[in-house]
Symmetry: C2
Amino acid sequence: MTPTITAFKASPDRGRGLARDMRVRWAFEEVGQPYEVRLLTFAEMKEPAHLALHPFGQIPTYEDSELALFESGAIILHVAQQHAGLLPDDADGRARATNWMFAALNTVEPPILELQTAMFAERDRSWFAERLALIHDQIRVRLGQLSQRLGEADWLDGHFSAGDLMMVSVLQRLGSSGLVAEFPNLAAYVARAEARPAYRRAFDAQYAVFLAASAG
Amino acid sequence: MTPTITAFKASPDRGRGLARDMRVRWAFEEVGQPYEVRLLTFAEMKEPAHLALHPFGQIPTYEDSELALFESGAIILHVAQQHAGLLPDDADGRARATNWMFAALNTVEPPILELQTAMFAERDRSWFAERLALIHDQIRVRLGQLSQRLGEADWLDGHFSAGDLMMVSVLQRLGSSGLVAEFPNLAAYVARAEARPAYRRAFDAQYAVFLAASAG
């Protein structure tokens, strides 16, 4: 059975691929698993039918014949465990790739989420400029540590894995801040991932939704 | 081989069990896996030997004969996959429990981490009171959604799992804020978890480290 995910009918990022369905689409493309997409308005995301699937009223969700999931990390790990292409064959390598997924989501992403919240909720406050500088410095600490670890390698632990997919997806959220560009090896790492054919297919698919919404 | 984790030699939480080694200790206790602990000072955490193990210079880490991990989420998932007691037997149930681990770490914890950062870095700023109110409201949204989903159930998805272990560990970080108490079913959920013998053993073990550090 083809799994179904949910995504924004009209993504607030205007098709830049920053919504969390992009990560899941990319994972499907990497492993060659076809998928279907059900588009939701913001109002629909807060209705009981969707809250039954996603208690926090967000996207994406994942549904196959019997299973429903709602966290992009868990969805991607599930897809990666079911199909070859996103995790190494050996158990220790799989644990290390999973470790990088958690590092992306729980160590690198939190200050980036804080930046996004501040851009949304604190832009008009008197303290915004000072806060922005504080958050940028927090993010720089994490990026510096990540840059140090990556060094001259192409990927975080040998071959491209779900850990890289997640880390790049998190770094992309810094797009317009200029912070990733301060670390040339991280900028090259993101560019390397974005050049993957699976990434391009996923990007084009979510961009097509934006174009359709704009035309509609 | 008995795995070894790292923990603070002198935890900044003064033995309240809020450092991330507590989650891992609790997981070991739930599955009955003995473990060893290597204690680190803050200075040692930033030295090359530890950074080779943990690129972000934090605790805990996990080492067994061949494998090294550094994210508490990945460590607990690895322990749960290797031993019975923290994940259901069926594949779909395991995916759902893993989903709750990611929900704890990537949906519920980020605003709680933001609160902790603000308490640490913004307490002396002119805007602190206003910011605190904003963050508390963000956290209340998440807690309200979680409370709604939990309802009258004991645990998030049937039996106690690694998902509950992680969610409770995240909620505990709100300890002194009074926010969890605003949702009586969440307060009861945390208390239910803290009454588990495995939790008590883990708590006592990390508390003994604090007592020893205080005495020394």
